[in-house]
């Protein structure tokens, strides 16, 4: 694999006069400036298929004079580094070539940008109705534009009253069943269209963004502290992970160096959150199969972990703890040690539950071979987190791009290849055990000292990243001199993985639908933002 300087040189040689490259050693990162022409897909192809970088996401920003698009890629093997493709266009020409044919994972990013910014991507097969639902808002509304006039937009609403779910199955006798947005017991607002010709469901396609609260829009103009509340609370079952990614972005901009204790405690709380999140998903899986004793036992473990989090940090969902510069309060060594001991006990009970599940053939029958995502498809859609790893797609930011002090901790990244519901359950179980393994290493790394340093705000742009419980998350932040947010971008694992959800929901029996949903463990609020 090329080093970054070699990469820059080769790019300029391959596309002389068209691509300009420079290297930032601090990140470390190689930026390639490309023209908005057919060169862009070629460069993307080179970065992804030859240099084997992985697509992280797209950040669109409207500058005073121009559109500024940044395509981010990161290495998953070898030394940690980044590639960034940067494409600009004058404001009156909001047109870019689509890269989705080269990187299918970019599909939804382009749809999102088109819907919210009104920028088009030429060659993209399907733009339009996405984040803002067309049965409520006309297509021309582009809320992320700087000159968006919300009063006018609200006053001049022209919903498309003829809007219908797009159907794919056209067999004679085929029919479609909409499910949601309000359905079943306690569920997030999402709608699904189940298309069937009788017994089996041919495909189930989600309609998301029911929970769109325009977080990225309302973040603009807030100060760093106000924006932190949004980062922490837009997807609160993984609040700490997202707050941490945001804080890391602020810390990179302001060049803050954290005390070692802060890093160690951030690792502790992150792993506690992952453990609790995974147990919650395991509970949902048990419940979806109707195995009520197991579901109750998993629910007890989840509540035990919520109580443990509440007792240790003051809040069951770890709110208010992460701040730029460290943590808002110090945790006592003795309390941390007690928490770790408690986590070990809870893991032991989880493993007993796991043993029981592995001997319950009626349970396994309902997971094995259900909701299969092949490794090839997982790669094509760039799936992240446990959902990707159950289909053999590795890559964990804690290893690939270490943050906090993860480079000092020993742990494995569990991988399975079957890609079915059972593989996803096994990955969750194994990751929970690895989280506790990390937790056990924290007490010896707790150096005495402060848990926070002061942050003097500066202007600049940076990216913060975290391996959140559902997978890689990237938070891009742009601050002005007084610490006001100019652009806040959240790239979340649920956004990536919902894109591939339909892969797991093809040709299945209707009663398996809740099981498939439970095993992928996706969040609508994390996707919708």
């Amino acid at each position: 694999m090329l080093n970054l300087a070699g990469m820059a040189a080769e790019a300029e040689q391959n596309w002389p006069g068209l691509v300009q490259a420079w290297v930032d050693r601090r990140t470390p990162l190689c930026e390639l400036r490309c023209p908005p022409s057919e060169i862009l897909p070629e460069v993307v192809h080179w970065v992804v298929d030859e240099l084997l970088f992985r697509f992280a996401g797209l950040i669109v920003e409207q500058e005073p004079q121009e559109w500024d698009l940044r395509y981010l890629f990161y290495s998953i093997q070898g030394p940690p580094r980044w590639a960034r493709l940067r494409v600009r266009q004058p404001l009156d020409t909001p047109k870019f070539p689509s890269i989705s044919p080269q990187v299918h994972a970019a599909d939804w990013y382009e749809r999102e940008a088109e819907d919210l910014y009104g920028v088009t991507f030429e060659g993209h097969p399907r733009l339009g109705d996405f984040v803002l639902h067309d049965d409520l808002w006309q297509e021309a509304v582009a809320p992320m534009r700087r000159d968006f006039d919300e009063k006018a937009a609200l006053a001049e609403r022209r919903p498309d009253l003829d809007w219908k779910f797009r159907r794919i199955v056209h067999d004679p006798g085929a029919f479609a069943m909409p499910v949601g947005p309000i359905y079943s017991g306690v569920t997030e607002s999402v709608q699904f269209l189940l298309e069937t010709v009788g017994e089996d469901v041919i495909r189930a396609f989600p309609r998301l963004f029911y929970k769109y609260r325009a977080i990225e829009k309302i973040a603009e103009g807030r100060n760093v502290d106000g924006c932190l509340l949004l980062a922490e609370r837009f997807a609160a079952t993984t609040a700490f992970a997202h707050a941490l990614a945001y804080c890391q972005a602020v810390e990179t901009i302001c060049r803050v160096k954290l005390p070692p204790r802060a890093h160690a405690l951030r690792v502790l709380v992150s792993e506690l959150e992952r453990f609790r999140h995974h147990v919650g998903v395991i509970h949902d899986i048990c419940e979806s199969t109707g195995l009520s004793v197991a579901a109750s036992q998993a629910a007890i473990l989840e509540e035990d972990l919520l109580r443990l989090s509440g007792d240790l940090t003051g809040h069951r969902y770890l709110f208010g703890l992460a701040i730029p510069g460290g943590l808002s309060r110090n945790l006592k060594d003795a309390d941390c040690i007690d928490a770790v001991e408690m986590a070990v006990k809870i893991l032991k009970r989880l493993q007993e539950l796991d043993d029981g599940l592995r001997y319950s053939s009626s349970f396994l029958d309902r997971l094995e071979g259900v909701g299969i995502i092949s490794p090839g498809k997982a790669w094509e859609f760039g799936l992240v987190g446990p959902m990707g790893r159950a289909s053999g797609l590795g890559g964990d930011l804690r290893k690939a791009q270490p943050y906090a002090s993860y480079e000092h901790f020993e742990f494995d990244v569990p991988l399975e290849s079957e890609g079915d519901g059972f593989a996803r359950l096994r990955v969750l179980m194994a990751e929970a055990a690895q989280s506790v393994r990390i937790l056990c290493q924290v007490p010896v790394r707790l150096e005495a000292g402060d848990v926070a340093v002061g942050v003097s705000l500066q202007s600049g742009r940076a990216l913060g990243w975290v391996e959140a419980p559902r997978g890689a998350t990237f938070h891009g932040l742009h601050l002005d001199e007084s610490g006001v947010v100019l652009r806040y971008r959240m790239i979340t694992p649920s956004f990536v993985n919902w894109h591939g959800f339909h892969l797991a929901a093809e040709n299945f029996a209707f009663q398996d639908f809740p099981i498939i949903l439970a095993t992928v463990g996706l969040s609508a609020t994390e996707n919708d933002r």
């Binding site: 639902h133 409520l136 809320p143 919300e150 937009a153 609200l154 947005p181 309000i182 359905y183 017991g185 306690v186 569920t187 997030e188 607002s189 029911y210 929970k211 769109y212 609260r213 325009a214 977080i215 829009k217 309302i218 502290d225 106000g226 509340l229 949004l230 609370r233 837009f234 609160a236 079952t237 609040a239 195995l291 004793v293 197991a294 109750s296 036992q297 629910a299 007890i300 989840e302 509540e303 919520l306 109580r307 989090s309 509440g310 007792d311 003051g314 809040h315 069951r316 969902y317 709110f319 208010g320 808002s328 309060r329 007993e352 029981g356 001997y359 319950s360 009626s362 969040s523 609020t525």
Partner: protein, 251 residues
């Protein structure tokens, strides 16, 4: 299968003693800042400025916290010179201020729900935490079935609509439709700071200031998220089996 029966029995009973007695286990509630704290003007003003949701008011030498707006951000207890005491507890539910006909006394509170109540839960753009806490009500620790509370998948069988989230644009119509489909008499319970006031999300062009913008609310449960016990308290207040939090009554 016998394996599960045995391990289920071995687990024993973990259910909370609430509402017979107060639950005192650690980590069951995030608590809230003290409602009334006398202090000097300069400290009071600082606290008003430190609170991101406008939950703290300072008048005549007293800092007063509006629980409906508080989001447990801990800024008033961790990053001010004169910090507020933190109070444990969870019985925060109150009648909605400026709420439904039941709350205003224009109609008498439905008695039919005293023994049993069916609940339809609607997610109106929540962050996932409130919904997760509602889900915990079915776990063996809280086991709300023992109190006659059941979650129902259909609004047509529901007695009370439990709404979480600030009510954003895309969920407004489904929420309205669920309410309309319920038989009368029916109650509405707004759960969590966002459902009460819009929280950190509203108001904006796609988000309002809570459920009251759209529906007549009867019961409000403060907290961000309210822990399961606080939601349970809200349900008991709705059923007429527990009094609301004193001093927070909107009537």
């Amino acid at each position: 299968m016998s394996r599960w029966v045995i391990s289920g029995l071995r687990q024993g009973v973990v259910t909370t003693c609430y509402p017979t007695r107060m639950e005192t286990a650690k980590g069951t509630s995030p608590g809230l800042p003290a409602r009334l704290t006398p202090m000097a003007d300069e400290f009071g003003q600082e606290l008003v400025d430190v609170c991101p949701t406008g939950a703290i008011h300072f008048e005549r030498g007293e800092a007063r916290v509006d629980y409906g707006r508080c989001i447990h951000c801990f800024r008033c207890s961790r990053s001010a010179r004169y910090v507020l005491e933190w109070e444990s507890g969870f019985e925060w539910a109150r009648f909605a201020s400026d709420g439904s006909n039941f709350v205003k006394g224009a109609a008498s509170w439905p008695k039919a729900f005293r023994k049993s109540m069916h609940i339809r839960v609607v997610d109106a753009g929540d962050c996932g935490a409130c919904l997760n806490e509602v889900k915990q009500l079915n776990n063996p620790y809280y086991n709300m079935h023992r109190l006659g509370f059941f979650i129902t998948p259909t609004p047509r069988k529901a007695d009370i609509l439990l709404v979480v989230g600030p009510v954003n644009d895309h969920t407004r119509l489904p929420l309205q439709a669920a309410y309309d489909a319920m038989p009368t008499p029916k109650l509405v319970m707004a759960v969590g700071a966002c459902a009460l006031s819009g929280g950190v999300f509203g108001p904006s062009f796609v988000t309002g200031t809570g459920v009251k913008d759209v529906l007549p609310v009867d019961i409000e449960v403060p907290g961000s998220p309210p822990p399961p016990l606080a939601i349970l308290h809200g349900l008991l207040v709705a059923a007429g089996r527990k009094p609301p939090m004193p001093g927070q009554d909107g009537r």
